[in-house]
């Protein structure tokens, strides 16, 4: 129960997570590799084909460059060895190292997904908690209907509707992009500019998760409010606000945090569509372009990185979970 012991536990936990991460990375790398090779189409052909007219020499060169002439097992071995040294390969289509390509897109994606994630979690749990506390009231019904509607809305369509209303009709918000290019803004103006560009993509991406977390929080609050220790708290003579804050919220958050961690993957997936709708220069768009161009190294790299991000988000939620629930520190990972 002492500080050093729990610090040591967290350290051990993180170490365990890293082992797990490496294992998962290797499996995913293998999985991706196999999948991508199973696809029809010859990558050398694509790269050359783009040039206007291919010729066998160029194709041969490319095959050699990428080792496409070697047996699959050798390719896989080389691939895994590279992955472990953080060398995600070289994109012959983009003619740049994959890691560079990903790293320059990563901040935009992280900005978008993390903002959406935090916003959804914050607003969702707040609204859900409020609705749960007044369960059965008109406000709760309105909330339930709205969250059900949001939950059923396709993300990309929501984005389009926002563009239709706020950009096309009202002209309030920029319909695409990350910032006003070459605007020669000061640092502060630039931040505001980026924020303005973020509003619609973040809302579109966050909406569905907001609905999910809110609904979850609502039912969680209702469930907690029926538990014995709430009765104990009432029997102690605690006032309702105190019961809510000090006994209900934290207990109700436990399942929400668990689900939030599990939704991280879906959130990153949603970013692909949203980045396409809003021309957001992030990893999602890079993914889509890479799929269309069958850019093998880029695809493999993106999948690894996204998996790492998801696992990292899982780790964060897991740590939060442990922070909230002391039982978890001593029990199974």
């Amino acid at each position: 129960m002492t500080g050093t012991r729990s610090t040591a536990r967290i350290g051990l936990l993180v170490a365990a997570w890293i082992v797990r991460l490496v294992a998962i990375i290797l499996v995913i790398a293998t999985f991706n590799f196999v999948l991508v090779r199973a696809a029809p189409g010859d990558p050398a052909m694509v790269m050359a084909g783009q040039s206007g007219a291919a010729d066998p020499k160029i194709l041969d060169d490319l095959r050699k460059e990428y080792g496409l002439d070697k047996p699959y097992l050798v390719q896989l071995g080389t691939h895994l060895a590279r992955v472990l040294t953080l060398d995600l390969g070289y994109s012959y289509r983009q003619r740049r190292p994959v890691l560079d390509l990903i790293l320059e897109r990563l901040p935009a994606t992280l900005l978008l997904t993390l903002t959406a994630f935090c916003l959804a979690l914050l607003i969702g749990t707040t609204l859900g908690a409020l609705a749960g506390l007044v369960a059965g009231s008109i406000a709760d019904t309105v909330f339930t209907v709205l969250s059900l509607l949001l939950y059923a809305t396709p993300v990309f369509w929501l984005g389009l509707m926002l563009v239709l209303v706020f950009s096309v009709t009202l002209g309030w918000l920029p319909p695409f992009g990350y910032e006003t290019i070459n605007a020669k803004h000061t640092a502060i103006e630039r931040i505001f500019d980026i924020m303005k560009h973020m509003i619609m993509p973040v809302i579109s991406l966050a909406a569905i998760y907001l609905a999910i977390y809110a609904r979850l929080m609502r039912s969680s609050i209702i469930e907690v409010s029926h538990q014995d220790f709430i009765k104990t708290a009432r029997a102690k003579g605690l006032a309702r606000p105190r019961i809510v804050v000090s006994h209900m919220l934290r207990n109700a958050l436990v399942p929400v945090v668990t689900v939030a961690g599990m939704q991280a993957g879906a959130l990153v997936g949603g970013a692909v569509v949203i980045e396409t709708v809003f021309a957001w220069p992030g990893l999602g768009r890079l993914t889509f372009e890479a799929v269309l161009q069958r850019d093998y190294p880029v695809l493999l790299g993106i999948f690894l990185i996204l998996s790492v991000i998801v696992i990292a988000l899982n780790l964060v939620t897991d740590l939060i979970y442990r922070l909230i629930d002391p039982r978890m520190t001593t029990e199974a990972a």
Binding site: Q50, D55, P56, R93, R105, A108, P175
Partner: protein
């Protein structure tokens, strides 16, 4: 015309062109041009990648020896004059003095020879074929380049635009692995603009090259190419003035009409003469029923190409009559015309014995949708509906770029749509699609449909080496008649891509390569 007269005529011609070096001051300097690049190019070095966006952007950075006017006649580029020996085998170019690369080093004839004979023959598929005809290239002095051909090649003078023969610095590339040279990121050329910054996924920022050899040029301070993958967003950007220039398919065809009427914008379809994008429904001639001429003729009757132009391309095209674009040299309109007639098509189909089956269908054909955007999708849908009228079921097959390139290149398809550039001369841009010697498995934009006719082969070959214009016209007219009768592919439309720009900008379109041009002479009033 003897050699001196020829040179003089050329010089005179060049002087008459508004873009000539003699044209002096008067234009206001400064200003920023915001435009669009779509999709984002993988690299800016045009010697290594010839996708349309690479060329548009690289055209500002890399120059070549010549330019071509709307009539596709050569104009001075970095070469101020040139002469051709009467036997059509020796080409001598004189360079402008004082040309420097963006890193400050001088550009000399050595760089030209190195670029054409060492770099491009390795990295540029189209240039490789052109320069394969060269027996020797020499640099007798820093300002003179001499090419000696193995045999006459009529369109050789058409091989020196900045997209076909960009000049790269020898001092950077010599002895290196060209494609992996780290300096590729810097994109060092001789053009009026140089690369300042490239934020991937966002924009490419070009600024003026102060050491540019043409006096006072460039007039603009900077050009910013924005990367906006979403076409609706691109249209909006033009509309609200975020960008002042769009080219190629930056705005969708259905948007063009709207911009034509916008007062502050100028609209033109000029500047595509060199490319003359020519579109057709490609049919694999090896596979039944497309192996029957009558079926292919029926296809020509089935496609209402006017309607297609209106609905799919929103009038931004002209109906094509045959293999050579009406914008390209040696076009002959006097060929067989296929009117839109389902009856005629059905007659032809009945004649060849392709009768409706029990389900009312005559045939089921797979149509590979080219993965290059919505218009191609719509066109596929249009074909499908057109064919359904004659009981032919077109099944659209979606694919990615790799899959499409692989399947078409390896002849593993039944029908698809294709779009090729004419490149200013039938010998460069047309023959490749129809001659038997270009049936090369695995190679895209070759004679992938597998059409073969010895007569057509002979006519194209003779026309390529003939030096006399009239003789060439005769040969090409003949080849057009044969091809239109045999319908190796179903030509649909000559696309007329627009260039739309803010009227404050002048001299945007000055040559036959339009938006790929250097923009050194563009100025903001």
């Amino acid at each position: 015309m003897n050699r001196r007269e020829f040179t003089a005529a050329m010089l005179a011609a060049s002087a008459a062109i508004p873009l000539g070096i003699t044209r002096a001051a008067g234009q206001p300097k400064g200003g920023t041009l915001n435009t669009i690049i779509q999709p984002e190019p993988p690299i800016l070095v045009t010697a290594f990648n010839q996708q349309q966006p690479t060329l548009t952007l690289g055209g500002k950075i890399y120059e070549s020896l010549l330019k071509y006017g709307a009539d596709l006649k050569p104009l001075p580029g970095m070469a101020q004059s040139w002469e051709v020996s009467p036997d059509g085998l020796t080409y001598t170019f004189k360079l402008f003095p004082g040309i420097t690369f963006h890193d400050g080093k001088p550009m000399t004839s050595e760089d030209v020879v190195f670029s054409c004979m060492k770099v491009l023959t390795e990295t540029h598929p189209r240039a490789r074929q052109n320069f394969a005809r060269v027996a020797s290239a020499e640099a007798p002095d820093p300002l003179t380049v001499v090419f000696k051909l193995k045999q006459p090649f009529a369109p050789f003078l058409g091989c020196f635009d900045c997209t076909s023969a960009p000049i790269v610095p020898k001092h950077i590339y010599e002895g290196t692995e060209f494609r992996k040279n780290p300096m590729n990121d810097k994109a060092i050329g001789t053009g009026p603009f140089k690369l300042k910054e490239w934020v991937r996924g966002s924009h490419v920022h070009l600024v003026r090259h102060d050491g540019y050899y043409r006096k006072d040029q460039p007039y603009l301070d900077e050009i910013i190419y924005r990367i906006i993958p979403d076409s609706a967003s691109r249209a909006l950007a033009l509309e609200n003035g975020t960008v002042q220039l769009v080219q190629w398919s930056d705005v969708e065809f259905f948007d063009v009409q709207r911009f034509k009427s916008q007062k502050n914008l100028a609209y033109t379809t000029k500047g595509y003469e060199y490319f003359a994008p020519h579109q057709w429904l490609e049919m694999n001639n090896r596979v039944a029923p497309m192996n029957d001429k009558r079926f292919r003729q029926a296809v020509m009757h089935l496609i209402d190409r006017d309607a297609m132009n209106k609905r799919v391309y929103f009038g931004n095209a002209k109906v094509a009559t045959g293999p050579i674009s009406s914008k390209t040299k040696f076009y002959d309109p006097k060929v067989k015309r296929y009117d839109f007639s389902v009856e005629k098509a059905i007659t032809l189909l009945d004649e060849m014995g392709l009768k409706p089956g029990a389900n009312g269908k005559r045939a089921e054909i797979k149509y590979l949708v080219p993965p290059y955007g919505e218009v191609y999708q719509r066109a596929g849908e249009f074909f499908r509906q057109s064919f359904s009228k004659a009981g032919i079921d077109l099944v659209l097959v979606g694919t990615d770029m790799a899959g499409w390139a692989d399947k078409v290149g390896n002849w593993d398809y039944e029908m698809t749509q294709n779009l090729l550039y004419q490149l200013g001369d039938p010998a460069l841009g047309v023959a490749r699609t129809y001659i038997s010697s270009n049936i090369k498995k695995g190679i895209l934009f070759s004679n992938t449909q597998g059409y073969s006719n010895p007569e057509v082969d002979r006519l194209f070959e003779e026309a390529a080496v003939a030096l006399d214009e009239a003789k060439r016209q005769e040969l090409y007219s003949k080849v057009q008649q044969i091809l239109v009768e045999e319908v190796p592919v179903a030509w649909t439309l000559e696309l007329e891509y627009p260039i739309i720009y803010d009227k404050a900008f002048k001299e945007i379109v000055t040559t036959g390569i339009g938006s790929h041009e250097t923009f050194g002479s563009v100025y903001k009033s």
